[in-house]
Amino acid sequence: MDELFLARLQFGSTTIFHFLFVPLSIGLVFLVALMETHYVLKGDERYKKLAKFWGHLFLINFAVGVVTGIIQEFQFGMNWSDYSRFVGDVFGAPLAIEALLAFFMESTFIGLWIFGWDRLSPKVHLACIWLVSLGTMMSALWILAANSFMQEPVGFVMNNGRAEMNDFFALLTNPQLAVEFPHVIFGALATGAFFIGGVSAFKILKGQEVDLFKKSFNLAMTVALISGLAIAFSGHAQAKHLMESQPMKMAASEALWEDSGDPAAWTAFAWIDSENQENSFEINIPFALSYLAYEKFQGDVPGMKTLQAEYEATYGEGNYIPPVKTTFWSFRIMVGAGMVMIFASLLGLYFSYRETLAQQKWFLRAMVALISFPFIANSAGWIMTEVGRQPWTVFGLMTTSASISPNVSTASLLLSLIAFSGAYLILAIVLVYLFIREIKKGVEHHEAAPDQKAGDPFDQEVYL
């Protein structure tokens, strides 16, 4: 096995694994903050109980998100040292700012929130959870600013063979960031919302604490619908922007070998033959790709062969076509899952409004299964974004094969890959096990009588 393959496998798998927890944390803490706000402003104790219950699940998830994130901070240097040397001047700044601005804020105020229920006034305690929520979103902003640079390098000059920053504000006003950040944040809110919605549906289905869980279900579905629509709009903006910034990714995500012709049809299904650079079978929806790319029902979209010739003229010989099947199908999985989520949240709100939710057993069961959809959509979206950028790590500037650490051996890579996979597997199993336990216990359990906690500083109330 070659080192490039192993390093990519490790980076891809650890990042996807990390990003299962990140959006759930961002979404959950936002919803918990909403619940606690309701409690503090209206004095409704039920919302305090809900905030604590969902808070427990958030904390388990947050712990896993934090520890899997430590690897992310270090593995650019560990596995991609030539990349780090090349872009560190630009790329390191957002990472350092993320730690300074977001990580400190999250970690300090989460400690205050967990241990501070009885030590801080309700309003200060509420401020803590909102600061955690703000921290998670700032963290996303800075890491996405770094990622946007990889998609669309801005604010730099080439100096001594390295990219050096010459305009910090260009990094922050990167048009790619403007479309990527809202898409990711609303995706995260939807992830938290579908988790809460699905778990609530499960409890309603079981007839346990139905009134409480109807409240969290309603709140979750409201957030889910708003987020779902925002995801669709920002996703469309991203596709439109892709036509300017990375047309090759667009062509690959459409399996468009030849130029589309005007107007461009959208391919819903294709049997892709990458070797012969053609599709043996396609189902097309006329006009749709023109709309996706230009917001009008006309316009030609360049195909991969045209772009390949263009890139060869610009960057020299090489293969500039990314893995087409992966890019094509991950895009469709993401969009499909997103559509189902919007539809489900509409339906959920409708049943809630008609007060027939508890009777819709089939829908409640479906909602439990739908917990997986945002996770699938998030992962597929990132696979499309990152695989579709290949062969580049930084578009137009540096290729993936030139980014790797030259001094890390295959044996070291195998060791780390096995070690991290093993650790992550254990984490995943324990996390799911603990989630199920907490969910089974329900809301009221967490409001255990105070005497049970006496003499036991580490019991339920404190360190969860």
């Binding site: 901070e73 270090f74 560190g88 241990f115 920053m165 060791l415 404190v462 360190y463």
Partner: protein, 336 residues
């Protein structure tokens, strides 16, 4: 002082902060094996660092991020060169982080015991490996003209680096024990102090061995003698004072002394490195310095503005969180 020097100083401050703060977290984690008689005591001990450890660990992440931003070559050379040690550091930090969260989740002795071992080894391994890392950087590693480090087993593992690892671990252990004397009451507090009184001599012995080997293996006494020699003297004084204060039951002053010892130890390492950030054992021409490993002046300027603006807030709210949880953990307090 130019921006390159300033960023070296800032990174040194971040690592000093990390070892001072996370040092007692590691120490408390190590102490759980030696001090706690039962599960309740172990819980109390972990509880003393409960609200803080996560934020303390962020000092390391920020240090890493700052190295990446200010000295990309340092970041690239160190993290790729120390690939295998970092794999173990990461495994330890991953395990420790979730163990705090998971250990109390299931009421089963086996479950708790398993995660307690993870807490222990997750607290023992990182200070040891960081000690190995910093001492071997001080000694010099095989770094070639392209700034890539190709190190063999004996470059990582030798008498000097192991002594460095053990020393840092003992210093953290002592720091954790003196933290516990401040945060607990009664029997547990007394036993923390009693054990600290023994460990402080161990720390002094380890330091003497470490300094002796450093004289032989590094240029710590010659490169910047006017700074490092007085500092080394101060380290010894700090730990002698710690021993004295522990005997007199002046726990606050003992903690300050142990903290000063850690701060000075990390500072000596950075002071003797400067202006180098990675020393090449092949040729001093291949050394990475604050000049040839750095980002451009524009990046450094932007980062300076950001850091100078944000750091006071960060330090401010961290101090506030220590103030909120200033009360000792006695195991009877219902709110805990």
């Amino acid at each position: 002082m130019g921006l390159n020097e300033l960023w070296f100083l800032l990174i040194a401050v971040l690592f000093v902060g990390f070892f001072f703060l996370e040092g007692f977290d590691f120490g408390v984690g190590i102490s759980t094996r030696f001090l706690a008689k039962n599960d309740l005591e172990r819980r109390i001990m972990i509880n003393t660092i409960g609200p803080f450890w996560d934020a303390n660990e962020v000092w390391l992440l920020t240090g890493g991020g700052a190295i990446f931003a200010a000295f990309p070559h340092w970041y690239a050379t160190m993290f790729s060169g120390y690939y295998v040690p970092f794999v173990f550091v990461l495994l330890a930090l991953i395990g420790r982080g979730v163990a705090f969260e998971f250990r109390g989740k299931v009421q089963s002795a086996r479950w708790t015991k398993t995660w307690d071992y993870v807490v222990f080894f997750g607290s023992l391994l990182p200070p040891f490996l960081f000690g190995v890392l910093f001492t071997s950087i001080l000694r010099g590693m095989p770094i070639d003209a392209d700034m890539n480090m190709y190190a063999g087993f004996t470059d990582f593992v030798n008498l000097y680096s192991i002594t460095g690892g053990v020393t840092v671990t003992i210093l953290c252990f002592l720091h954790g024990l003196s933290f516990l004397t401040l945060r607990t009451v009664g029997d547990l507090q007394n036993r923390s102090r009693a054990l600290a009184k023994k460990v402080v001599w161990l720390a002094l012995a380890a330091l003497v061995a470490f300094v002796g080997l450093s004289y032989d293996q590094t240029d710590i006494f010659t490169a910047r003698a006017s700074v490092t020699v007085p500092m080394i003297g101060a380290i010894v004084i700090a730990y002698v004072l710690a021993a004295l204060f522990l005997t007199k039951k002046r726990d606050g002053l003992a903690f300050v002394s142990s903290g000063a010892g850690i701060i000075l130890t990390v500072s000596v390492i950075f002071a003797s490195l400067f202006p180098r950030v990675m020393i090449s054992s092949l040729s001093s021409a291949y050394d990475l310095t604050v000049y040839n490993a750095a980002s451009g002046p524009y990046s450094l300027k932007v980062m300076t503005i950001v850091a100078v603006t944000l750091l006071p807030f960060v330090i401010g709210y961290q101090i506030w969180s220590y103030y909120v949880f200033r009360k000792r953990v006695d195991g009877k307090d219902l709110t805990y």
